[in-house]
């Protein structure tokens, strides 16, 4: 095959040629770093604060962001069931119709639910976990998936959930 890689296009050779040919006026041009630090992922967010302080900070952040939550049960103080009016849905409603229904007359639920739970990993090391917990409609109407085949049951957009968790993490970061 006549397919080949042009030798003079390889970065190292190009730089050598530029230096030897005297064409280089601007000598402080350095190559982009090719070793990219791999993104290190964690579950949720870590904390070494006192557990009750962590919960207090989360409740304050949720309040500042206008979220609401169910009163925690005595036996489970470390779980918060949050409901959040998602502004994006109003916007969609305005875009597509006035009464938050789109052309196919489908309800666009606007209350995103999240479960926030505090776990102890080891002594003085805690993890705040965020889980998506479905949608509700502020009018109280049940959110029923439209009649779709079982194959498509999982066409699910995580972006509203991801967006609201970034808002909460920002609020916690700013407050702390």
């Amino acid at each position: 095959s006549g397919v080949a890689i042009l030798p003079t296009s390889l970065p190292q050779l190009h730089r050598a040629n530029m230096l030897s040919s005297g064409l280089l006026q601007n000598s402080n041009i350095h190559p982009l770093v090719s070793k990219k630090s791999k993104t290190k992922w964690h579950f949720g967010i870590r904390s070494r604060s006192y557990p009750l302080d962590v919960m207090g900070e989360i409740y304050i952040a949720l309040k500042n962001l206008g979220a609401e939550w169910a009163k925690p049960s005595e036996e489970d103080l470390w779980t918060i069931r949050v409901r959040w009016k998602y502004s994006g849905s109003n916007q969609i409603a305005n875009n597509e119709a006035n009464n938050s229904q789109n052309q196919n007359n489908e309800k666009i639920p606007d209350l995103l639910k999240i479960v926030i739970q505090l776990f102890q990993i080891e002594t003085n090391n805690y993890l705040v976990d965020f889980k998506f917990d479905g949608w509700e409609d502020s009018s109280g109407a049940p959110v029923t998936p439209s009649d779709i085949t079982s194959d498509e049951i999982s066409a699910f957009s995580a972006y509203p959930f991801l967006h609201l968790t970034t808002r909460l993490i920002m609020e916690l970061a700013v407050n702390s």
């Binding site: 964690h42 579950f43 967010i45 965020f130 959930f161 991801l162 967006h163 970034t166």
Partner: protein
């Protein structure tokens, strides 16, 4: 929810979602 440490004032969060029979790790970068 998966998170990565804040760099350059940018937040990065992700969650793994099943789309039909495949798995998408949806990663969102947002400003802090």
């Amino acid at each position: 929810l998966a998170t990565s440490s804040i760099k350059h004032n940018t937040l990065c969060v992700a969650s793994i979602v099943r789309y039909k029979r495949k798995y998408v790790t949806q990663i969102l970068y947002a400003p802090l």
